[in-house]
Subunit: 552 residues, 2 copies
């Protein structure tokens, strides 16, 4: 059965492997929520499927302590009231572990077939998942559909491709024949088996439960591990639907569904530490705060831990002629999902003496104003603005905006926009605050949310130094540069290599520094404190299994 | 220059990559110390080169505190009295780090060329290295030549091949073009750069300084890192010669020789911890005691740590017809280098009721006796015996033999053989001690040296359980099985996968459980406490560099 699935999906898997090598544009799933792609009734079916979960207990037949729990609040005001079975940690760990030998035995191609089928089924549920992502994270619909659906599925497929290829580097068997001069040669038959490390824990985040979760989930599955999916208490539903799909496919393939279990907890009684430090947990994937990510790295000695944490993403603005292009591009960048992305820039470094624009000096304040005006104009039509901004994920972010305003001169204040569709919901535009480059303590840590600092530096060279200092200390996932000087571009490229951060240069069109495309862009590098791994490369998959050898 | 080297060695590198995939027999360097291969004068030249080091200060122009030190004792009685410059830790770390950007800039092919040239030069010095290995470790000449020379070079080449291929998985540049319906497509040019993690520390061991050291050294070099080579104080010379060769090639290629430095210390004033916990040390490779290996894993938070530690290798003897074959094979296995290998079996599990041999029961004692007699006969001719046994590396091992004898009935006592060539040197044959399987605390930890326990179990099934318990708890690198029952073979294969240990089945000929061949056998698995990594696979190299991206 699993090998039939492999044959059915082989072509797409081969394409995915090839795309991960060539790194041009490729996608396994369609990102447009179009009826022509997903079917005439897909959107309505998706809404109904989403609504069918509301106010109910989510059915999933797995080891449970008996009770139910669920604390999701709808950032758009839609009350979820979904209850999930509370996990029994020991029973769930034991059941997941017990499901592993059969998963190992179907082999790497069998596992690939099952993983590909799961992704295909998830893709078919893209609308249901999109509404679930939207009403747990606060993303606007289009973003929830793309980042939470097709793009997340692409990231999952990418992990399957890397994990599959990593296991295919060695044959299942080999004949070893060593000549011995006039004597008979020495001959051995050797067998190589990929064996998963153990139970893998995937800890989801509140803002991108699927996009940040699928890489670890699928990387662990393809390499032979069981997975406990532990969603953020505020964004459970998208991962609950995901786990149910996984389990359905496992059952159809004649496998034990407890290979993948859903472990839900609450903000008041978290269970992540219990799972993460369990002796049988051998892998942990985490996206979230630096504090907890560092705790996991320090305390899960028995496991391989992959973390994506906070960072201070930066933009360096040097001499550049197309300031309108900067403004247009950054307006969208800062506004998208109200800056609640791990890739949104926070620190914009601009020389205090201004920059050269078409041979004329443009002052610091004028550059800052151009950006502020761009953001203001871009968000001037409420109906359009809310479809970019989405909603604020939790109230802590609103408090943070107020804190940020106290740090310097407010260049652009945040405004509230009443959501035309969801009554009582207010969307929040980005705040832009001017800070002096010398006050590094004000901007050297991440203030997650729609908060932008324009920072006055002594020169672009000083901007580079301050970028390096802050990123080496507190990490970053993205760095942007605007410059017309090739020498300066080279200097920033070199500095980016030293700071261990991916660089985007002179983006003025339809590509944004906070977006990264599976198969072409590496998300994070693992080379600065913002993350200890990249999505997805060989290192993200190769530690999830070991090769055992038998020779005779 | 480095690209010229790449072209010169490209064919061999391609062959090595291919061999790592097909995993049949392949070797990059000749293992026989034959004049036809290495030249008529190679042996004499090697002796002279070795002797030229004795009683002198080893010349190497690198950051030093000014003093010299050196405590090597010749296990064969040849006094070394070599002094080495004492390192200045901070200055050495700074110099190594400063050498990295140029090493990155010559690119993956440039680094491959330089690494291949280094290996070629080391190969040309195989006799000099062999005598250095012999007179520091106590290995007999043939083993020192093979394991310390060609086989170590093969392990280094294997690491170069894996590291090179891992970096070649992604292109240097890619064009990303995303169609936008009727609008112009989005286009980006992307650049990918492999960047080493930082300074790498290679901590050598006293028994196999080159074989265990080269994988980490070359894996770190090929992936763009600087390397501090910290030999075991008792086995410095082979690595000192190695580092000098590396530095010569670097200088010839126009690179900074401080990319690789030699850091010598003494048993009384060790410096490993200082280097290992230095903020700029990002990789540590270690072979040695579990105690120190675990310390490194726990305390080098800033680094990726690869360890090979102690383990309790095992043999399971089930029903088998060719007991002479068992005896012949294990005699060599137990005797080679007086059991001072991380792959030598310690625990031989045999059912207390005996085994079936050609339809007749052979008692536990008779099986044990057959093995003991085999060892005795094999070592009965002193001239031949000493060429297998070599010398005891340090006095602690002799004390351990005496301890082991107190644990049970001595089936075969150790004997001392006067070395015919080296006056006053005594070689020691293996001791075989009978222990009851129930006394697991007696055999569950490693007693490094020529010590074998024959352990009486309730059945082969019980042997499997006790093997699993001891290996899951204390690790192992090798497991051997003798059985004529296919079902039992399958059961042990399954148990080996669970214990995370590589298995050798029914070895009665010229292949031995304690030998592992580069490009075909994985040395250790990383899946039990004996090691957290395997030599060499994708996981051994992929964490040593990160890919940084620049797009515009």
């Amino acid at each position: 059965m699993s090998l039939e699935l492999f044959e059915r999906h082989r072509e797409k898997l081969d394409q995915a492997c090839e795309a991960s090598h060539s790194r041009g544009y490729w996608s396994g799933y369609k990102e447009m929520p179009s009826p022509r792609v997903y079917g005439e009734t897909a959107q309505d079916d998706g809404i109904k499927a989403f609504q069918s979960h509301l106010g109910k207990t989510f059915e999933i037949d797995q080891p449970t302590s008996g009770g139910t729990l669920g604390v999701e609040e709808g950032p758009f005001g839609v009350e979820l009231n979904v209850q999930y079975p509370a996990p029994d940690v020991e029973a769930m760990m034991a059941a997941a572990k017990a499901a592993m030998p059969a998963w190992r035995k179907i082999g790497r191609q069998g596992r690939a077939g099952v993983c590909m089928e799961i992704l295909e089924r998830l893709n078919a549920k893209s609308f249901e998942l999109a509404f679930s992502v939207m009403h747990t994270t606060g993303q606007a619909f289009m973003m929830a559909f793309q980042a939470g659906g097709a793009h997340a599925q692409d990231r999952g497929l990418e992990a399957v491709a890397y994990g599959y290829e990593e296991q295919m580097r060695h044959p299942k068997t080999a004949a070893w024949v060593k000549a011995q001069g006039k004597n008979d040669p020495l001959e051995m038959t050797k067998k190589y088996t990929a064996v998963g490390r153990g139970v893998s824990l995937m800890v989801g985040c509140a803002t991108f439960p699927t996009w940040n979760g699928y890489p670890g989930l699928f990387a662990s599955l393809i390499t032979g591990n069981a997975v406990i999916v532990k969603p953020h208490p505020r964004a459970v539903l998208p991962l609950a639907i995901t786990v149910r799909v996984v389990r359905e496919v496992l059952v159809e393939a004649g496998l034990d569904p407890n290979l993948v279990c859903l472990a839900v907890d609450t903000l008041e009684a978290p269970i992540t530490k219990e799972f993460a430090t369990h002796a049988d947990t051998k892998i942990v994937d985490f996206t979230g705060s630096s504090e907890f990510g560092n705790w996991l790295e320090d305390n899960c000695k028995q496991a391989q831990v992959y973390t994506e944490k906070a960072g201070v993403n930066a933009i360096i603005i040097d001499d550049f002629d197309d300031v309108k292009g900067i403004s247009r591009n950054l307006s969208f960048t800062f506004s998208l999902y109200s800056g609640q992305m791990c890739t949104t820039p926070q620190n914009v470094f601009i020389p205090r003496d201004g920059i050269d624009v078409n041979g004329e000096n443009m002052s610091f304040d004028d550059v800052a104003k151009a950006i502020a005006t761009g953001v203001e104009k871009f968000l001037s039509v409420p109906e359009r603005a809310v479809e970019v901004l989405g909603s604020i994920q939790n109230k802590g972010i609103l408090d943070r905006i107020e804190e940020a305003k106290k740090l310097g001169d407010v260049v652009l204040d945040t405004t509230q926009i009443d959501h035309p569709m969801f009554k009582g919901i207010q969307c929040h535009t980005p705040v832009i605050v001017k800070i002096d480059g010398a006050d590094i303590e004000k901007y050297s840590e991440e203030l997650f949310g729609p908060i932008v600092f324009v920072i006055a530096t002594d020169s672009t060279q000083d901007s580079i130094e301050k970028m390096k200092t802050t990123i080496c200390e507190n990490g970053a996932i993205t760095l942007g540069l605007y410059s017309k000087n090739e020498e300066m571009i080279e200097a920033v490229e070199e500095a980016a290599l030293e700071a261990g951060v991916n660089l985007s240069i002179n983006l003025t069109g339809g590509v944004f520094v906070n977006q990264s495309a599976a198969f072409s862009d590496f998300h994070a590098t693992g080379a600065n404190p913002a993350a200890n791994a990249a999505l997805t490369d060989g290192n993200f998959v190769s530690g999830r299994f070991r090769v055992m050898q038998s020779r005779r």
